[in-house]
């Protein structure tokens, strides 16, 4: 036991010693008698004064850092109460350090984020985490202080949470700058996205971004476009354009109003103007570009349309061959007129567009007519012909086809102005010639009957005359009857000549006689205020022509001459022989050199301009007012003269009268044989004993003819009509030597009868007689050229002579 006690005692003493040692160590430490401390691990010993110095230095450094730091330093206890704040922190917040100590740290945080911030700090720091975040504080003066806060938990030696240490950096400026940046970015984004212009960003051909309009322009979804390459997508229609644009951007830094075109997703090509800015220029390679695309397709199309419509207007209106204008329905002012209209009215288009419709259409000057034009009408209006006045005062007949149009709020009438003056004249002429035709037909018909009657009167007068002895007083009276009948026959002939229905049989004749024979009629036709002189050369040659036609030639020219002398004047007829040399003929084809009889008809009238002179022989050419001329007169003259182998020349000057010269070739025939002039005492004609079949529906004429032929010794078989004639021909025993027949008869015609009978009686001769031979009969081949023909009225001796001639002629 004692050993245990000793042992225990020893242990107590050891402990006491250890305690003393520890106390002494402590005392030595406290009194500064310790130089070094051995590390517990025994790996090293630390000199105590160095450690202290180091500690001191570090503390000093720490203090310096804390007090002079750019950052604010803030410590709080677990209840978030401020336990420390450095000067910097206080200045940042605008407080004195002393004011801050003891105040909850969250009080300084901007109210908006206070709770969340405090909660966050506490949670993290209690968990031992570091927190770094931006915190908005309110300065003492109320302004905002943005700080970047790094907070660490503080732990006491026992490892318990003892609060937080926070380092604060003033980031207000940076934050503001960032905020501004963000805001401007947002603004840019908004502008970019909502811009009505198509804007994209391109980087080396890659579409980095593009707003809604940009995508819309190309017709792609955004996703299809962003990140894709423009070349790959084939957006550029002309790759050369892109190269050119890039070159311009590189050179000038930007591009404005660059015209090009792009292909949309659908393949449609659209025109565009490009505006390009460099966003980020990089050395080498393509810069990053901000590209604005303005779709100009519609505008271009509109411009094109406008150009086209102007062109169309020019082509359709200005260049339209139909005269057109448009006038205001209210004011009747002409607001537009085309070239053709200007030509038609003799104005320039400028002059015309300063005129009123009243200037053009004189009839509108009456208010009532003007009102009718103003009256609103629906749709199209066709009207005319209306009388319109040219600049030179001449009047035009114009058919107006109009259409109401509205232009810029003005009610206009667009009118097409069809000049129908010529057509109107032609219509008038046609009417006139139809009238003449009708008159001619009537006259021809009447003359036919007249001729039959006159033939009878003349015939019986002659027959009666033969019975009287010379000196018998009865002969005188018969002569009167005869002269009266002859005058009637002459009038009938003139009537036929005038209506161009005379017999067309050329004969050798003395033109002088024709002219002389006409002069009486001309005197009546032409009027008293015109003096007529007729000069006929005595040794006049003969010509071969139809006397009736020649009469008409002279009459037509004379009538024209009369019309050229409305105030009266002189008319000279001259007939003489002329010899034309080659020089005289002037190389003209229609007048070969040779001997001619010339008829010159000269008036002292108004004369003609070269233009009119050129046209006078053309059918339907007339300078006369409608209804006054047919326009056929001189063309017939021309035709007749040429048909007769002659030529016609006209010499005229305005104000100096006109001369027509007609050249008819002379024929070498004895003068005597030419003119079978009816006479009271004809040379007795030789008769004969042949049988003649006489066919004539006019009984007096038939009886006369029979009488004459009986007297001449012929055997005459009488027939009333072709049927009668055929019957007689069949039943007659003896030969029939001659068929003497009228041309126009009921039932069948003379030529038909002749054709029928000559088949059975080929030896039979045929002589036609007629008081009226229509052109148509000859032209339609009813009368063969070369047929023997006797025109009514005829004198008995003419009949006898003609019959003898036909019978005596050898059979062809």
């Amino acid at each position: 036991m004692s050993s245990d006690r000793e042992d225990l005692l020893a242990r107590i003493q050891a402990l006491e010693r250890a305690l003393v040692e520890a106390e002494e160590t402590n005392r030595a430490l406290v009194s500064g008698q310790v130089d070094a401390i051995v590390d517990r691990s025994g790996s090293r010993a630390l000199l105590l004064h160095e450690a202290q110095a180091a500690l001191q230095r570090s503390e000093e450094r720490y203090r310096t850092i804390v007090t002079t730091a750019e950052e604010g330093v803030w410590t709080v206890d677990p209840a978030f109460i401020t336990t420390f704040a450095n000067q910097r922190l206080a200045s940042m917040l605008g407080y004195e350090v002393e004011e801050m100590i003891g105040r909850p740290a969250d009080e300084f945080i901007d109210a908006a984020g206070r709770e969340a911030m405090r909660e966050r700090f506490e949670r993290h720091t209690r968990a031992g985490d570091r927190v770094r975040t931006d915190v908005p504080y309110r300065r003492k003066d109320g302004t905002l202080l943005w700080t970047s806060v790094g907070a660490s938990p503080l732990v006491d030696p026992d490892g318990r949470f003892a609060g937080s240490l926070a380092m604060l950096t003033d980031i207000t400026e940076r934050r503001m700058a960032e905020e501004e940046n963000r805001r401007s970015e947002e603004r840019f984004k908004m502008i970019f996205q909502s811009s009505p212009a198509a804007i994209g960003i391109g980087d080396g051909g890659t579409i980095v971004d593009g707003n809604g309009r940009y995508c819309e322009f190309y017709g792609y979804d955004r996703a299809e476009l962003i990140g894709r390459n423009v070349l790959e997508l084939g957006l550029w229609v002309e790759l050369a354009d892109r190269d050119r644009m890039l070159a311009m951007v590189r050179e000038a830094g930007s591009v404005r109003d660059f015209e090009t075109s792009f292909r949309r997703k659908s393949g449609e090509v659209r025109d565009a103007l490009l505006y390009v800015e460099i966003l980020d220029g990089r050395a080498g390679g393509e810069p990053v570009l901000l590209i604005m695309v303005v779709d100009t397709t519609e505008r271009k199309r509109a411009v094109l349309n406008l150009r086209e419509s102007a062109e169309r207007y020019r082509v359709l209106f200005d260049d339209n061959p139909m005269p057109m204008w448009a006038f205001d329905q209210e004011t009747l002012a002409i607001v537009a007129a085309n070239e053709a209209a200007a030509r038609q009215y003799g104005y320039t288009t400028r002059e015309l567009t300063s005129k009123s419709l009243l200037d053009i259409e004189p009839s509108l000057e009456s208010e009532k007519t003007a009102e009718s034009v103003r009256k609103p009408e629906q749709g199209r209006v066709s009207d005319g012909p209306r009388k319109h006045r040219r600049k030179d005062g001449t009047l035009l007949d114009v058919d107006v086809h109009a259409n109401d149009v509205e232009l810029k709020g003005r009610r206009l009438r667009l009118a097409v102005l069809h000049d129908v003056t010529k057509r109107q004249a032609l219509e008038d002429q046609l009417r006139q010639s139809q009238k003449m035709e009708a008159v001619g037909r009537l006259a021809g018909g009447v003359a036919h009957d007249f001729n039959n009657l006159l033939t009878a009167i003349l015939g019986y007068s002659d027959l009666l005359d033969v019975r009287f002895k010379t000196g018998d007083s009865g002969r005188e009276e018969i002569g009167e009857i005869r002269r009266a009948a002859e005058r009637a026959a002459s009038l009938t002939r003139q009537l036929l000549a005038f209506s161009r229905k005379q017999v067309l049989v050329p004969e050798v004749l003395d033109i002088g006689e024709v002219v002389r024979g006409l002069s009486g009629l001309l005197g009546r036709l032409i009027g008293e205020d015109i003096r007529i002189d007729v000069v006929i050369a005595p040794d006049l040659g003969l010509v071969e022509a139809d006397p009736g036609q020649m009469e008409q030639v002279v009459m037509n020219i004379a009538v024209n001459a009369r019309d050229a002398m409305p105030e009266g004047g002189k008319l000279l007829f001259e007939v003489r022989n002329v010899e034309l040399s080659a020089a005289d003929a002037g190389g003209s084809e229609d007048v070969p050199p040779g001997s001619y009889v010339m008829i010159a008809i000269t008036d002292s009238g108004i004369g003609m301009t070269p233009e009119i002179r050129k046209g006078i022989f053309e059918p339907f050419f007339t300078t006369k007012e409608p209804g006054k001329g047919t326009g056929l007169g001189l063309s017939m003259v021309h035709g007749i003269v040429h048909q007769s182998g002659g030529a016609i020349r006209v010499y005229s000057e305005p104000g100096h009268g006109t001369t027509f010269r007609i050249y008819l070739p002379r024929v070498a025939v004895p003068r005597k044989a030419a003119l079978p002039t009816p006479g009271i005492s004809p040379a007795p004609s030789r008769g004969g004993s042949e049988s003649i079949l006489l066919v004539e529906d006019e009984e007096p004429l038939r009886r006369l003819a029979k009488r004459i032929l009986d007297l001449a010794g012929y055997t005459v078989l009488e027939a009333r009509d072709p049927e009668d004639a055929k019957r007689i021909a069949r039943t007659h025993d003896g030969p029939i030597h001659l068929l003497l027949t009228d041309v126009v008869m009921p039932g069948s015609s003379g030529p038909e009868l002749a054709a029928s009978l000559t088949k059975e009686l080929p030896q039979m001769r045929v002589l036609f007689m007629s008081g009226y031979t229509d052109d148509a009969i000859v032209h339609h081949g009813i009368l063969n050229p070369g047929s023997h023909f006797l025109s009514k009225p005829f004198a008995p001796h003419q009949l006898v002579k003609r019959v003898r001639e036909v019978l005596a002629r050898d059979v062809a």
Binding site: E24, V38, L48
Partner: protein, 93 residues
Amino acid sequence: MPSLSLRLFVAGRAPNSTAAVANLEALLPADQSVEVELEVVDVLREPARALADGVVVSPTLVRVSPLPAVRIVGNLSDRDAVRRALGLPEASS
């Protein structure tokens, strides 16, 4: 003749260590009456030896023998107390 084995742990030439060496030499008897064996150990060089003797600070004087071991911490300026602790006779004054 009594013998005494001492071991003085010092920290290089630190002031208290230098003072401890000087104080110890001064207090040891000059009459050779006691055979003294003294070893000076620099803890800066040989920290492990300090720990082996249970020494945590320097300067510390350890009476290695006779046992029990005695540790005296500090610069040994209180020489009497040191003598007492070491069991040396009081200095005659």
